[in-house]
């Protein structure tokens, strides 16, 4: 196998918020290869969401640089190189499901027929065929999040940024969507940056898990996930799965135990 090309390169990124003098990220270095599925995991306040936003140029780093496909992060955003999914679906109430998915395509100036065709493809990809004319509030939380994923993927970005996309869903829905996301990822072969609180979710989905520690936000360690693919329901029962979960948990505990409870609470407040 040839060395994969680098899609995202984070070098020496530090982010401090002047208010409260918080160092959200300190000297982060990270390279993502094409087709990788990377999870960022860590306790509240470790800066994982901030790192995702720095990559997407939604937050400007204090120092350091991010390049995406060899371009600066602002240039990559202007070129619409990535799609993003938030914790809540963030769907527009006044638009139908189909119109929500069309939104980024309107920005790109696609004509109506081309948009329609793509929306149908996307609806079938997230298994929501026939729901295009519904309004978001008529769908369940899990279905809404699938619409949000379809919207992020509609213009086929090479990079998908996901900020705790399944955090607000119940365990069963979350596990089903995990499987769906994996199958979509295998079809599209895009690069994914996935922020999560859940150790098992991170291990199950990723090719690499980046464990972060708080105050200041740093990379505590990176765990290569060498589970065989394609992953399925059985993967969660694989002994190797448990070993990897334990490894990630150890890393999290090692770096987190110096935190006093009140410090943790303060970190959680900053995160919110």
């Amino acid at each position: 196998m040839t060395e994969p090309t680098t899609v995202v390169s984070v070098s020496g990124v530090t982010k401090t918020f002047p208010r409260g003098n918080v160092t959200a990220l300190q000297d982060i270095n990270l390279d993502l290869g094409a087709g990788e599925f990377i999870s960022l995991i860590g306790p509240s306040g470790c800066g994982k969401s901030t790192l995702l936003r720095v990559i997407g140029d939604l937050v400007e780093p204090t120092s350091g640089a991010v390049t995406i496909n060899g371009k600066s992060a602002p240039q990559a955003r202007t070129d619409r190189d990535y799609g993003i999914v938030f914790q809540d679906a963030v769907l527009f109430d006044w638009r139908t499901v189909a119109k929500n998915i069309e939104l980024p395509l309107e920005m790109l100036g696609w004509d109506k027929a081309k948009r329609r065709a793509r929306v149908e493809e996307m609806l079938s990809l997230v298994e929501l065929t026939g729901f295009g004319d519904h309004h978001p509030w008529q769908l369940s939380g899990g279905m809404q999040q699938r619409v949000s994923i379809a919207r992020a993927l509609a213009f086929e970005p090479a990079l998908l940024l996901m900020d705790e996309p399944f955090g607000a869903l119940d365990e069963m829905t979350r596990e089903r969507l995990n499987l769906e996301l994996l199958s979509i990822w295998q079809q599209l072969r895009s690069t994914v940056v996935f922020v999560t609180h859940s150790i098992s979710e991170a291990v199950f989905l990723s090719t690499r898990v980046v464990v972060m520690s708080p105050r200041p936000g740093r990379i505590a360690g990176i765990v290569d996930i060498d589970l065989p693919g394609p992953r399925s329901v059985e993967t969660r029962e694989d002994p190797r799965f448990f070993e990897l979960v334990t490894e990630v948990r150890e890393l999290l505990r090692l770096r987190g135990e110096h935190l006093l409870p009140e410090e943790e609470a303060a970190a959680a407040r900053e995160d919110a």
């Binding site: 939604l58 955003r77 619409r80 963030v90 026939g130």
Partner: protein, 304 residues
Amino acid sequence: MSSSAANAASVQRSTAARVTWRSRLHGATHRAGLIALTVVALLALYEGYNQLWRATGWTWPFPADDTTLPHLWTIFKAFADPAQVNQPSLFSVLIHKALFTAKEAFAGFVLGAVFGFALGAALAHSKLLQRGFLPYIVGSQTIPILAIAPMVVIWVNPKLPSGMQGWGAVAVISAYLTFFPVAVNSLRGLNSADPRMLELMRSYAASTWTVLWKVRFPASLPYVFSALKVAATASVVGAIIGELPSGLQSGLGGAILNFNQYYSIEPQELWATNIIASLLGIVFFLAVLGAEKAVVRRAPERRA
């Protein structure tokens, strides 16, 4: 997804549509019945008070006689009688006057709504403008409209084409009342957009105009429509009051001024005029309500 599942979804949807249609019809009949019942109850209350206070001679809170509370049938009969000798019925006269006032009020409403929204949009994009102008905008509403109406008439009339002389100035006075709620609520509504939606738009590298048009504007609509409902009735009040110092006789304001002078002799004519004036306000309000239902798409529980 398999085609059978898609079929199931479409069957489910058409069933849902049928149920909605039927329940909507049912809801409409229900509402109409309720409104009719309320009107009848209010009329009964009016006439009941009238009869009882006349019979007993009670004077608290106020006595009932032909001047203070004309009988319902006296008022309704006044509609059918000619307003003056050899003239059409009062009802027909009042309807013509109401249409004239409606023209002023509608023009004022549109003018005020457009100006108010533009003002709100400008303020929403600049904190500096907001801090500088908002106090004066609020201040503008503390000046009684009767105090500025003569100036508006003198300023505006010479600049109007001949077809708009008189009523055009009244429309401007009416707009003075309507722009305020629209401006304040537009400002709030345009700033009410979900910050995560703005972040999403930023991820698309959307321009300020695109964000305004695709996110801020739709998000503001529930607020704007709340304001338009207030503005709809205010525009009618503004038009009627605007007619008073303008010396216009063609509208309801002129009629009210006229019938005021004859109140002690024929109170029923002023009552009849007031009924028409309030009906005009209700028509304006319902028109905005209808437009809101057609335009604003929101989760049912979030409808303002």
